[in-house]
Amino acid sequence: MTRTAEFVNGLTCPAPAPPTERIQLGHGSGGKLSAALLKDRFLPHLTNPVLRQLGDAAVVPVFTGEIAISTDTFVVNPVEFPGGNIGSLAVHGTLNDVAMMGAVPRFLSAGFVLEEGLEFAVLDRVIGAMAAAALAAGVPLVTGDTKVVERGKADGLYINTTGIGTLDGPCRPAPHRAANGDAVLVSGPIGAHGMAVMAAREGLGFEAEIESDSATLYPLVARLAGRFGGDVHVLRDPTRGGVASALNEIAAASQCGIVLEEDALPIQGSVAAACEMLGLDPLYVAGEGVMLVILPARHAEAAVADMRSHPLGACAACIGRVVADHPGMVVMRTGIGGTRVVDMLPGDQLPRIC
């Protein structure tokens, strides 16, 4: 990590923007306005030496071995929500995807599609949050791109981030590696991000003490990788589609069944309450700062203890096991003692009245 430390971002306070200043189409044209945008809105936050060279591409040292590359595009609406904004989410999300392969995140790139009319103040908060998230993770944002589209075409802004990580050790989790008898663990309470965003979305009108759990999970991954190495069979952050979708994909890839215990699922009271009100099942609601861990049952207790010793994993728990029965299907023992299938949903969950 020491080499990366040389590239770590600095953070400086941007000049306060007058509230009436907004993105115009000209900011995307590559001319003076574009240069000003870069200089006034991006560079004050993102100060690593590679980015500052402003080359067409970032030139970074090569690491030997294999690399993990992940890209993701973030279109969350609203762009700001309790616990974060689209910027911090874009950093955490992609770094987590890299970490879920057992890779050490090294570099980030970011592409922006800005909507004409986006307030500079909002953009500042987003870039500031990205920079802070990248700094906290020790991963520099080394290159980027900006385009501007007409009013109405971008919900404020969209961000694509690509993350590159290196696979240094024996820890090689993959979706197909779940094995009969493995334990299924979760690092923290589920569904916080999805409900925080929904609460912030205009129209459903409820206030909740729910904050997005968006966070970089690599510190937890490092702990587990260090202790259990190749025995970490699967890592997965349950984002879109929640725990249910993630486990269904893993069950299908591994051709195993999964049995969950409803009573063991950690969930915050206010997240559970918001789900009740809207008739949503928390198993399908996104989290952005929790991960599923599947490893041999004999390591389960130690792994939970390891995660709990870190603030991000304070509510880590064992929530189920991998079985040979019903391959590809996820089943849950309910609090009452009955069983139900935990299926993939055809599309998004919709709030219901029934």
Binding site: A199, G205, F206, E207, A208, E209
Partner: protein
């Protein structure tokens, strides 16, 4: 029909003649129309809320009674149940004998 959720009435106000309130559902708050129970609800009471409307007040005494009965009944084991059934039959026999 469905999805009626119990919540605690935190505050009551008037919106252009319509009784409204803020109801707290386990940490989540929402504005709810209280017009249908306005005459009998006060802050601190619990209400059953469906699509943003309070459709009844939760009778807390009744809830407690029901729950206690449920708890007792669910804890009856085989012997208790037999004893209870026997007692019930004896009472019925007495009632018939008395007529």
């Amino acid at each position: 029909m469905c999805l009626g959720i119990p919540g605690r009435v935190v505050e009551v106000h008037d919106d252009r003649g319509l009784a409204m309130g803020i109801v707290d559902f386990g940490g989540v708050r929402r504005e709810v129309c209280l017009a249908y129970i306005a005459d009998r609800v006060r802050p601190g009471d619990y209400a059953l809320v469906h699509v943003g409307f309070a459709i009844s007040r939760i009778d807390e005494a009744e809830a407690r009674r029901t729950f206690e009965a449920l708890r007792e009944m669910s804890q009856l084991d085989e012997l208790d149940w037999l004893r209870e059934t026997a007692d019930q039959e004896l009472r019925e026999m007495d009632a018939r004998a008395a007529t």
